[in-house]
Amino acid sequence: MSGAVPAAAPSLSESTDQRGRRLVQVEGCWKLQRLAPELQHIDERLGRIARGGEARWDLQGIEAIDHAGAALLRRAWLQAGSPEVLTRPEHEPLFRRIEAARASPLPSARKRLPPWLVPGVWVLHVLGHLHGFVVLVGLVAMDIARALARPWKAPWREISANLYRTGAQALAITALVGFLIGVVLSFLSSNQLKLFGADLFIVNILGVSIIRELGPVLAAILVAGRSGSSMTAQLGVMRVTQELDAMSVMGIPQMYRLVMPKVVALAIGLPLLILWTDAVALLGGMVAAQAELGLSMLFFIDTLPAVVPIANLYLGIGKGVVFGVLIALLACHYGLRIRPNTESLGAGTTSSVVTAITMVILVDAVFAVLFRDVGLGF
C-alpha cells in the first residue's frame, strides 16, 4: 500500500449478523487529512452508534488508517463497551500504540498557587528585582572605578559605539518631536497670553518649561523607548544564542564590556541629546511665537538669558545624567534576567521599557520637589 490518500471516503454501516447480533462495519480511508473536513459529523455518528450498545466491530474494510483514525475508532468502541473487534493485522500496531498512549499518565499541569500565597510571591518577586538591581549598580560602580584606575584599558571602543547608536542616531527623532512640541506649546500659550496682553511672557513660559522639564523628559522617554528596548533585546538574544556564555568562557567580563559601556554612554549621551532637544524645541517655539505674536526671533534670543536663570539648564542636564544612567541600568537589568526562550525575551523587553519610562517620570517628580528653590527665583 502506498502512502497516498486513497479515494474511498470513510464510511460506517450498521447491520445484524446471522446470529442476530449488531455488527458495525467500518470501511474506507480513516486518515486525518481525509477525516478532518467532516470530523464533527463522523464523530457524532460514531457516538450514536456507540451509545447503541455492544456490537461486533469489523474494521477489516479499512483501506488506510493513521493514529487519528485509530484513536477515534478506539474511543467509540470502548464507549460502546465492545470487546469484539476485528482488525486487519497490519493495522494492529496502530491500535496498540494508541492503547499504550492512553495508558501512559501525563504529568499534571503546573500547580496553581493558593490565592493567599499570591501576594507573598509578588513581594518576593519585587524583592528579587530590587536585589538584582542593587547588585547590578554595585558591579557597574566597581567597573567604572576599575576603568578610571586604568583608563588606557577601559572599553573606549564600546563606549564610543554605544554613544553613536544611542546618541547620534537619535538626533533626528528627538529633533522632530522637540520641534513639534515647541510649536504646539508656543501656539497654545500665545493664544492665552494675548488675552491678557502679556505677550512678552511667552519667553519665560517656553524657556522654563522646555529647559527645565519638557526637554529632559521628552528626550529621556524617547531614548528609553528607542535605546532601552534595544539594549534589553540585545542582551536577551545574546543569552538565547549562548553568546553571553561564550564571552564568559573566553574570560571577557560581561559587565565590563557590555553593561558598563552602555551606562557610561547614556550618561554622556542623554545630556547632550537634551541640550539638542531643548535647542530645537525653543526654535519651534520661536517660529510659532513669531507667526502668532509677531515676536522677533532676535528679541526672543536676547531676552531668554535674562528671564530664565542658567540654573534651569544645569538642572535639566543634571537630570539627563541621572535619567541616562537609570535607563541603561534598567535595560541591562531586564536584559540579563531574560531566560532562553522567545516569550521571556518579549516580556523582558516590554518590562524594561515600561519600567524605564515610569521611573523617568517618577524621578523627575522627585527632582521637582527637591529643587523647588532652584532656578525659579525672579
Binding site: S2, Q33, A101
Partner: protein, 271 residues
C-alpha cells in the same frame, strides 16, 4: 485534492526540473533535475556551501528558485494557489536541523499545535495523539510538560520529529537529522526513522553529512557538486563514480569504514 491524479502509483512525490538559483552574481544551482519516488528515502549530499539547504528550502516553498519548477505531490509550489499550497503543507512534515521547537510552548503543546490548528479534534483525542507520537519517538510521558530549554539536544531532535509526524504526513523532510548527536544517539535515531518509515509508509528527503546515516537509511543518493547534480542513484553506484568530490566524500577513510559495514550487512542479509 486535484493533486492526486494517480494515487498509489509511482508518480514522483517531489519533482524538480531545470532549477536555477542565484544569489546576486553567485550561481548556486545550474539546472537541477531530481525526482523523489514514493516510498523511498532520498539522501541529499554535497560539500559545505553546495546549496543543499537552499534546495531543501525550495522544496519546502520557503524560497523561490530563480528558474525552473519544484513540484511536490504534483503541485507546482511556486506557481499554485494559496489553498493548494496549504493542502500540500499539511501532507508533509519537516524536521529542522536544530529542532525549531517553539520555545514558549511545552513539549506537549509543541506537538499538539499542528493538531489544534486543524480545529477539528477535541482535546481528548489530541491527548491520545500527542502521547502516541511521543511514544513513537521514544520520549516518556513524564517529559511532556517540560519546556524546550530544559531538554537535551537528542531529545529536541526526537520531539521535533514527533511534531513533524503530528499530522501523519506522507513525506518527511529531514535536515541533518543526526548532526549534533553522539554516535550512540544518532544510531538509535537512524533506527527510529527506519521503524517509522516502515510503520507510516513514509517517503523521506534527507540532507546529511553523516555517511553512517546515509548508508543506513538512503535508498538513493543525490550528490550536489559544482552547481549540478553529479549523480543520483543507489549509494553503491554513486560511490563508484570517478570524481574528486565523490572520492573524498565516500572513499575517504570514514567513508570506507561506513561502506565496509554496508558490505558486511549485505553479505549477512542478502537483499
Amino acid at each position: 485534492m486535484a493533486a492526486d491524479t494517480n494515487p498509489g502509483g509511482t508518480d514522483p512525490v517531489v519533482e524538480i526540473t531545470g532549477l536555477w538559483t542565484c544569489f546576486g552574481q553567485t550561481i548556486v544551482h545550474a539546472g537541477i533535475d531530481l525526482d523523489v519516488r514514493r516510498g523511498e528515502v532520498m539522501g541529499l549530499v554535497g560539500g559545505s556551501g553546495s546549496g543543499k539547504t537552499t534546495l531543501l528550502r525550495q522544496m519546502l516553498a520557503l524560497e523561490r528558485p530563480h528558474r525552473g519548477s519544484v513540484k511536490v505531490f504534483g503541485v507546482d509550489l511556486h506557481g499554485c494557489a494559496r489553498a493548494e499550497l496549504e493542502a500540500v503543507r499539511s501532507r508533509w512534515g519537516v524536521l529542522f536541523q536544530n529542532g525549531a521547537l517553539f520555545s514558549a510552548l511545552s513539549v506537549y503543546d509543541n506537538i499538539a499545535l499542528p493538531l489544534r490548528e486543524l480545529r477539528a479534534l477535541d482535546e481528548a483525542l489530541i491527548h491520545d495523539l500527542v502521547l502516541s507520537k511521543l511514544q513513537m519517538v521514544g520520549i516518556e510521558a513524564q517529559h511532556a510538560r517540560k519546556m524546550p530549554s530544559q531538554l537535551s539536544g537528542g531529545m529536541i531532535k526526537r520531539i521535533g520529529l514527533a511534531r513533524a509526524l503530528a499530522l501523519d504526513p506522507e513525506l518527511l523532510f529531514l535536515d541533518e537529522p543526526t548532526a549534533g548527536l553522539d554516535p550512540d544517539r544518532s544510531e538509535s535515531f537512524v533506527k527510529l526513522i527506519q521503524e517509522l518509515r516502515e510503520e507510516l509508509h513514509l517517503s523521506v528527503v534527507m540532507v546529511t553529512h553523516d555517511l553512517d546515516t546515509l548508508v543506513a537509511l538512503a535508498d538513493r543518493v543525490a550528490v550536489l557538486c559544482e552547481h549540478r547534480l553529479l549523480a543520483v542513484g543507489p549509494i553503491r553506484e554513486v560511490t563508484m563514480l570517478e570524481h574528486a568530490f565523490v572520492r573524498n566524500f565516500f572513499r575517504g577513510e570514514r567513508g570506507l569504514r561506513a561502506l565496509e559495514v554496508l558490505e558486511d550487512m549485505q553479505r549477512l542479509m542478502p537483499i
